[in-house]
Symmetry: D2
Subunit: 342 residues, 4 copies
């Protein structure tokens, strides 16, 4: 019997990607689709690539419309999920693709988001130690941010194996879909094509505390993260270049061994063969993560690089992966590791 | 029992796209993969997006290696398919993704390709009148060119319904993957990003006789086609803008009706609602075709526009669609109408 | 003594490009810069590429502020130029980069723009027969649209020499800057990168009557134009692919000769050597126009292709070129034929 | 009397950009243009954007052809400059745009380039302390690498003012033109559009020792640099995100003050107003450098970001700037700080 899923925020990029995945998920039946300013419009006008749903009409985002589904995905602006979630019964699996329930520390939440903390839900990054157990049977899932997904998966093996000092430096490039579908001048094609630029420099990006939380959970103490996101002239993809000083005694071999061990059995993370480096094109539209690592002896640093599709593994694919675990399905159901290239 | 398929030319763009599709085809088991200059290399190095095939090694393209499969796909340079095909037995389904067996007129072939004509195979554009019957049970399939696929599907309804004069004008924009993976200066990223340019202007493009053949088969007489291809700064996609003078008595309504009738039951062709126009992004990585048509009363012309993914519906998806028919499978098996966007 | 120039609409793409050119124009001193919603802001925040003007502050667009300059450029939304222009004295050279004064036929204006016709000014396309004489000493200039600039220069030689039938078919690709800097969803980088799509199909684009006016002025009778604009994934550039049926007796040689004669002495139009085709990258940021032409004997059509930078020759460069003529300066003063590539 | 300049390597990207700049340089007369595989071809076919030079024909790169000029620019593959340079007399100003004469340490050269060290010439980064004095009247100039230009200008103020620990971490994104015009599969448009990927990770990039040399010259001791270059889907531009641990007592104010002091009088470096960050689009085709800096108190790091055009300030513009100094001209002669945007 199919699992009925509703999607709140079906007109945006995260919602659209989620529908792309749910359409081919063998256990899911797509139920209500809601928007806000777009309610009443045909999905064919808003998401013309979702051919099979072209004639579906968006409804208002209300608890009444979302009720009566087995799973409700919330692809809403930050701060709006809590109000909707509390109106959905405890028997409904609620998957929040926003930030509201990711952080454990209320003070962190308030400093970065400027509103009261709504709580903390099981964190939907199954590759983190302990995460799968917390997700199994859970009725609430907080889907990680796209940057934290890429950065955490790049650095966790180094911290789990105590190879790196607790000061990480991250520079990540993201495609423009990470900034959403609301029209803004600096996101116009004319502005972004041919240009690279940073933003939120110096610790201001809201994904920073989430990275610190994830890395601190596996390291031997608190980790600081210097995080600089950059906007790249592409629609999708995150390339995260992460580094940290190596602890004494670290060698290229110990680094390689730690990463091989960490990802030997992960279905979606692929540690590339030595000498091959991640490229966002290789994971385009896929739930796969490419990871590679090097030890720079001259600089004394471990350099770990990951590539994900920000909309798939970084958002909607990660959501489906965690949903699968929560529902007791095979974790990879309906998800692909095959990218679309070129 | 699975259908075993071999792919000759697995390191190129057409071969890679074909493998992306075959990996999710429920009836196919992927057999031998061959290259030429790349024989002996891991596929993971050549097609890093095809995660599940990363450890497969390319073999030489020989009849011995290709033999023993139920289906053999040839993604070879023009002129090389015939030699391979004749060494494969008549019981093997051979699907040629090159041009060798598309044209019926040997003189056309010789004029445009400069070599002896190898013959004519059933033409793998199922949407053409009579094509499905010719493909059913066939052991040989000539996959159409990418431009002819887009242009034929845009214009066939106008000619089938005798709405248009027999002189078509086509300007089409193609992504760079249509030009292949062999490195050439004019295809460098530095050259193509930010630039649009035409090529093969004035009737010189090899896809022109194929369009003329297709349109002439449904029109009330021979059709001339003025075809100008242009190279667009994107990896995938063809947007074909096609027009022809309307015959006397044609109205917007008769045009619309002809197109609605033509594509009412086609699984992969979607005539868009009035006012919405095709975009290549909407069919990215999908086997769908978006078509729209307008009647310009002031100019007296019918304007039909289609968008396809040149690698999917325009090459590898079209090949799988025709293979399905030849094998007696549901035509849509393993093929998607869902695009990857944004 | 320097010519003082004011720019109304300095925060948009046309205004920014104009300032880029005026900054290196040896006879111009840049005076007032105005915006509307942006008044009060530093230009450094709005046009960060205009380094030397970074500390200039935008003023309101009023006649008082624009008065007292020798030249006033209006880079305003369509329909707003007339009100401003009539408040500027007849001694001021007013260069309208909008559409308000381009069309001669009031009915055409009203049909395409839906407002009363404001009048007709000398048309700023010096390459048109008679245009230079009308511009010399003029105090009012209507700068052509970007598409009409490209299309007119591609086709005029064919019509001047009576080589083509009076039904032209044009498909043009434009960079996104042609659609302006106001944020709209369909212009987001996420939407345009990797996508080609048409718009205004079937005669609806406002530039169509302008093309008809230009071609009709040199042809031996009225010309119809079937015009399909497409949006291309690049910031700048127009590639116009234009064709018309050849009149009886036309040959490749007569076509070539007509184009060579037409552009032998034009400072900004370059008829490329035979076999080389225009590319928008080659005229990026330049006032040059690349033109090439072919005769397709099989289809019986003349194919003329032009490439311009929509913001330079297509808007701001064309404006400066015409201003130079009006002021009695050398037509090429401050303008470059050197593109920025790659 | 004009300075006559020859350009060896006129068919590549660096050579083409140099010619674009020399064409508008008021003191330069362009003399011999040479290539190797391209000798005998018209420049119009190879560099179609250089309209005024279209009919110039490339000659062979020999000392005979290059002799008799006041200035000879060498835009040759690494390792080829020395042989040519030694055949040119000491009275000729030789500007090497390759790497041959940049490094002072012969062991560094041999380790990274694998050939004998040819020597060290005055280093053409005028913004470095002492560099202008060394360039004045010099007859030999080693033009810096593009990455070292961006990184050095981002970090020098922090090291000059002793604000940063001697371990820098750099992640830089470059447009594809930095990889040259020789056709290679991984540089095809199909490969680079929509993709970000790193290369030379872990200390292997040849520009690393040059950065170390530059920073070490102003710091209070040797500096290590962890450098990760990434390839971005754009033709031009470098965005360098650089950071280092702050020394004790550093504050946002002391950092800002150091950068303001460093760049107050530099004609081409612009420290942006607080809150505004560099973008490569803003310096496209310009010799300007945008720099911004932040102090991340939580991570204890200084983050400095710079944007340059890799072909202009990063190569050909830097070459002209240094040539101007060597010839006793105003340093900014013929160079622009105005970018081409959008």
């Amino acid at each position: 019997m199919a699992v009925r899923a509703a999607v709140a925020g079906a007109s945006g990029y995260a919602g659209g990607e989620l529908l792309r995945l749910l359409l081919v998920h063998p256990e899911i039946e797509i139920g209500a689709l809601t928007g806000n300013s777009n309610a009443g419009q045909r999905l064919g006008a808003l998401q013309p690539h979702l051919f099979p749903l072209a004639d579906r009409v968006l409804q208002e985002t209300t608890a009444e419309i979302l009720a009566g589904h087995d799973v409700v995905f919330l692809a809403l602006p930050h701060g709006q999920s809590a109000a909707v979630a509390e109106q959905l019964g405890p028997e409904v699996l609620v998957v929040d693709m926003g930030a509201d329930f990711r952080l454990k520390d209320a003070a962190d939440w308030e400093r970065f988001y400027g509103s009261p903390h709504a709580g903390t839900w099981p964190y939907g990054l199954p590759e983190l130690p302990g995460a799968r157990a917390a997700l199994e049977g859970s009725k609430r899932i907080a889907v990680p941010g796209c940057y934290p997904t890429a950065v955490t998966l790049a650095l966790v093996p180094a911290y789990t194996a105590s190879l790196a000092e607790n000061e990480a430096v991250v520079v990540a490039a993201s495609g423009t879909s990470g900034a959403g579908k609301s029209p803004k001048t600096h996101l116009l094609g004319s502005e972004v094509m041919g240009s690279m630029s940073p933003y939120g420099v110096g610790g201001g990006h809201r994904h920073t505390p989430e990275m610190i939380q994830n890395l601190g959970a596996v390291a031997d103490g608190p980790v600081t993260v210097s995080f600089t996101p950059t906007l790249a002239p592409m629609s999708r993809g995150i390339l995260a270049t992460c580094s940290a000083k190596a602890k004494p005694g670290v060698t290229a071999e110990t680094v390689r061994a730690a990463y091989e061990k960490a990802y030997a059995d992960e279905p979606f993370v692929r540690l590339l063969p030595e000498g091959q480096w991640p490229a966002t094109a290789s994971v385009h539209a896929s739930n796969a993560v490419q990871v590679q690592v090097a030890y720079d002896a001259a600089a004394g640093r471990i350099i770990a690089v990951s590539a994900i599709d920000n909309l798939t593994k970084g958002t909607a694919g990660g959501a489906v992966q965690s949903m699968n675990i929560a529902l007791g399905l095979d974790e990879a159901t309906g998800l692909s590791t095959i990218g679309v290239a070129p």
